[in-house]
Amino acid sequence: MKAVSISVNGVEHSTDVEPRTLLVHFLRERLNLTGTHVGCDTSNCGACTVWLDGNAVKSCTILAVQADGHEVTTIEGIADGGDMHPMQRAFHEQHGLQCGYCTPGMVMTAIKLLEANPQPTEAEIRAGLEGNLCRCTGYQNIVAAVTAAAEGVPA
């Protein structure tokens, strides 16, 4: 076992973990933050996307011990009190989700996409989402949600 101290959604968690514990399992099973999902075992689907020190990462490719001393943000940590993040609202208003399973990872990726490129073209949005798979929406309304969120962001 290895002692780690990881800040998750602003709360410090100091605990012991088995060194091979994936960050996603640490989040889901130790902290009960089940909004982060697992959709594959090869880091293709992006359902497990969280932020590590402000960067979107696939939490199934990172060990909990690698997050020691770092800050993690999950889907549960992006709303501002009772108000959803503008990207969450955009997904709702544009019908950017159906079964909801890919949604948390997609939202976490999309927010970072706009941070890096606040006014992306459709092609840039599609390229930026290539690491997140969705089987329900055909991506169209996810792209629409990101576009709508970008329009709400000051240029």
Partner: protein, 781 residues
């Protein structure tokens, strides 16, 4: 964190979904999110061989791993019956015994052989890898040709030619049609094997309480009630003591329309060990543990006049069933048979379906389930006929469209309603005219790109199904659906539905129906689904049936509640029920606007129960079992334009236009979303996806690294349009839209590529190498 919806409306409005908030904030509850006290984790040992005898299973090394509780094989668990198949189209289907854990022999790579149970999932995984199984490999039959060969290895000893069933539909006049035809076109058209890949893999949590013999199973399924019935049968427990819960389900597409070995195994292991058991499928495991789809070859022949009128059709569909029959395996190609003539008036047909066992993962319903196969084959044939005759692809279709309804097909169906030329006209209006396109085509060629256009004018079958029909076609269960509409004393409404949504937005659409039919606002309606403890029974969500059958049950139950409330209100107002008007949730005596009762007051009185009309029972709570009189038949015209890199063979879909007619629309936003997703999955089949087996039976692209589920970068913008032809099969006039996009798109995309390359046909998936070869060698002969 409630989402505030805009002024919500009833049917026909693009109301935002009430389901969304929990998913967007990480509060969805999927099977893997469920934790029970004392829960143990199960992992499954699977065969690496496609066909082998099991010589020994040694769990001793696995048992020595810290945290491991048990290693169990077939002899350690008792089942009263094997994994069920509920489909027997001819009454002659060969249904091999399919044990939950392999007994002595495995018949496909991925078949469960043993299980390990441990305190956490990592230990369970380690232990599964440590179970030592020795096999003696046997020759395997991979693909239908190998399985049908004279010297093919026998997959099931009792079935000498590896044939599962042969189904025929032969009318009079076929030979005559071919004799008098000016032209006969023949083509073999392949529908490759696909892996469904719902983004949430399957999972089960089973909890068998020994003292009371109560079994609760959470499972990622489209059909919780079926699973309950078969758990009761297979695990020998009273159905009245089994509760199955489909919590939030992360996509299904037919792959969760099944009763799987792991559901029974988890229940039996929970019983044996006295602890809740969780099994969560890994993705790489899912690729060979969950059903595959398609895997069908169509040997097609059309006889036609020189004017393009089709006189007759011969079709032989050969279906790869895989190694065993899952819940509906034999029915899938039967659906292909039913829809074989497509949107065309072809009364002379000679259709044979041959279903074959092979040493591969069983196939079953995958979005569209037999209808994409039918549509792809007939639509490709119409293109090939047009090419043969030098006629336009739209004209050959127009000359054969069915134009009067109801229409009795040569396969025994009655198409309910339609206007096929109208959707085609609308597609053509939305597309460039020929001159403009040819000009652009010339310009593209100058920059090394080949442009092509394709179309598909599909009709499909939804609203499964009239129970008399399900019985006639050899399905064990009926096709009805249930709904309860319950008005509480405070005027709020609970809808309990037998449908089991996994992304379709039933809570939203059913609330819209209640608002329209009962006059109680959308936001005051809660919808409960997916839990067998609540609904009387539910046949579940598949086959684009939920709205036409389950939605109609909601509509009828809401109407019954309204009419009962009318009796109560009339009594309260001392008026005749016929003299009451009902609008905006209030009963008013005609001509006396001051004499009125809001539905809430009426519900309260019905709950109080005193001074009700003579003979009327208390309560406002109605349940409907709705059995539809006929299927529904949505239709449409899809068109697409592709641009192919003449050097690399890379396909880019530049433009995709979908014109669908799904009858009356309850929520256009949800309908568009279904079309987008369906088309995307079909583009996946056309261009990217396909399960590849080695000759020995290893799935070579058995993970998402090399099985190409398309990402946002591969899917184009999809333009959606509609016409609206109500269905006479139900009072709302709705048809169904969940699978239309998947059914329509492959033929349009393949047609566009053939047009670009000037070839007759192309096999799918049209990955660059295949296109590159076709540019040099001329495509599929």
């Amino acid at each position: 964190m409630a989402i505030t919806t805009e002024t919500s409306k009833g049917m026909g409005n693009a109301v935002l979904r009430k389901e969304d908030a929990e998913f967007l904030t990480g509060q969805g509850r999927y099977v893997d999110d469920i934790k029970l006290p004392g829960m143990l984790h199960m992992a499954i040992v699977r065969s690496p061989h496609a066909h082998a005898t099991i010589d020994s299973i040694d769990g001793s090394r696995a048992r020595s791993i810290a945290g491991v509780v048990a290693v169990l094989a077939a002899d350690d668990l008792e089942f009263a019956a094997g994994v069920p198949c509920a489909s027997n189209p001819t009454g002659q289907v060969r249904q091999p015994e399919r044990p939950q854990l392999a007994k002595g022999k495995v018949r496909h790579a991925g078949e469960p052989v043993a299980v390990v149970v441990a305190a956490d999932r990592y230990a369970a995984r380690d232990a599964a890898d440590a179970v030592e199984v020795t096999y003696t490999p046997l020759p395997a039959a991979i693909g239908v040709e190998a399985a049908m060969a004279a010297d093919a290895p026998l997959i099931h000893d009792d079935y000498p030619d590896n044939t599962c069933v042969v189904i025929k539909n032969v009318t009079d006049g076929v030979d005559e049609a071919f004799e008098k035809a000016d032209v006969v076109v023949k083509q073999t058209i392949h529908n490759q094997r696909l892996v469904p890949c719902a983004i949430e893999p399957r999972g089960v949590v089973a909890n068998w309480i020994d003292a009371s013999d109560e079994l609760t199973v959470y499972t990622s399924t489209q059909i919780p009630h079926f699973v309950r019935t078969f758990l009761a049968i297979c695990c020998n427990v009273s159905e009245a003591k089994v509760r199955v819960i489909a919590p939030d389900v992360g996509g299904g597409f037919g792959s969760k329309l099944n009763c799987y070995a792991e559901e029974f195994i988890a229940a039996a292991v929970s019983h044996k060990l006295g602890a809740p058991i969780k099994w969560i499928e890994e993705r790489t495991e899912a690729m060979t543990a969950t059903i595959h789809g398609r895997a069908q070859d169509a040997h097609m022949e059309l006889a036609a006049t020189k004017d393009g009128k089709v006189l007759g059709m011969r079709a032989h569909y050969v279906q790869d069933c895989g190694s065993y029959l899952q819940l509906l395996t034999p029915t899938i190609a039967h659906l292909t048979l039913f829809m074989a003539p497509g949107a065309y008036d072809i009364q002379a047909v000679d259709i044979t379906v041959t279903e074959v066992f092979t040493n591969t993962v069983p196939t079953d319903a995958y979005r569209g389930a037999g209808r994409p196969e039918a549509t792809h084959a007939i639509e490709r044939m119409m293109d090939i006929l047009a090419m043969e005759l030098g006629m336009s692809r739209t004209e050959v279709r127009r000359r054969n469209f069915i134009t009067s309804f109801p229409y009795a097909t040569a396969t025994g169906l009655s198409y309910d309603s339609g206007d096929y030329p109208k959707t085609l006209d609308k597609l053509l209006e939305l597309s460039d005219d020929k001159e403009t396109f040819e000009r652009r085509r010339g310009e593209a060629r100058a920059r090394g790109k080949l442009l092509g256009r394709g179309l598909s004018t599909y009709v499909e079958i939804c609203g499964l199904a009239p129970s008399a029909v399900t019985h006639a076609i050899g399905l064990t269960p009926g096709g009805w659906e249930t709904s309860t509409v319950r008005v509480h004393p405070t005027g709020k409404v609970t809808v309990i539905t037998g449908t089991s949504p996994h992304g379709q937005g039933h809570a939203t659409s059913w609330s819209q129906i209640v608002e329209s039919e009962l006059g109680i606002p959308f936001d005051d309606v809660e919808v409960i689904s997916g839990d067998t403890a609540f609904a009387p029974y539910g046949l579940g969500t598949y086959g684009s049936r939920s709205l036409a059958v389950g939605g109609t049950a909601v509509y009828r139950a809401a109407g019954q509640v309204r009419e009962k409330a009318r009796l109560v209100a009339a009594h309260m107002l001392e008026a005749s029920p016929d003299d009451l008007e009902y609008a905006d949730g209030t009963f008013t005596v005609k001509g006396s606007p001051d004499k009125s009762k809001p539905i809430g007051e009426v519900a309260f009185r019905a709950w109080q129960g005193f001074d009700l009309p003579e003979g009327l029972d208390p309560g406002l709570d109605e349940t409907v079992f709705h059995d539809p009189p006929n299927f529904t038949f949505p239709f449409g015209a899809h068109g697409c334009e592709v641009e192919i890199d003449a050097e690399t063979g890379q396909i880019e879909i530049k433009d995709y236009i979908a014109v669908d007619d799904c009858g009356r629309v309850v929520n256009p936003m949800i309908v568009d979303g279904q079309v987008h997703g369906g088309v995307a999955q079909s583009i996946g089949q056309a261009v990217y996806e396909g399960a590849i087996y080695s000759d020995e039976g290893t799935l070579l692209n058995g993970s998402l690294v090399n099985y190409l589920v398309p990402s946002a970068g591969e899917i184009p913008h999809i333009e959606t349009h509609r016409t609206e032809t109500p269905s006479p099969s139900n009072p709302m006039g709705v048809k169904g839209i969940g699978e239309a996009g998947t059914i329509a798109a492959t033929a349009a995309v393949v047609g566009a590529v053939c047009d670009a390359l000037g070839v007759r046909d192309m096999d799918m998936p049209m990955q660059p190498e295949r296109v590159w070869r076709a540019m040099r060698e001329g495509g599929a002969a």
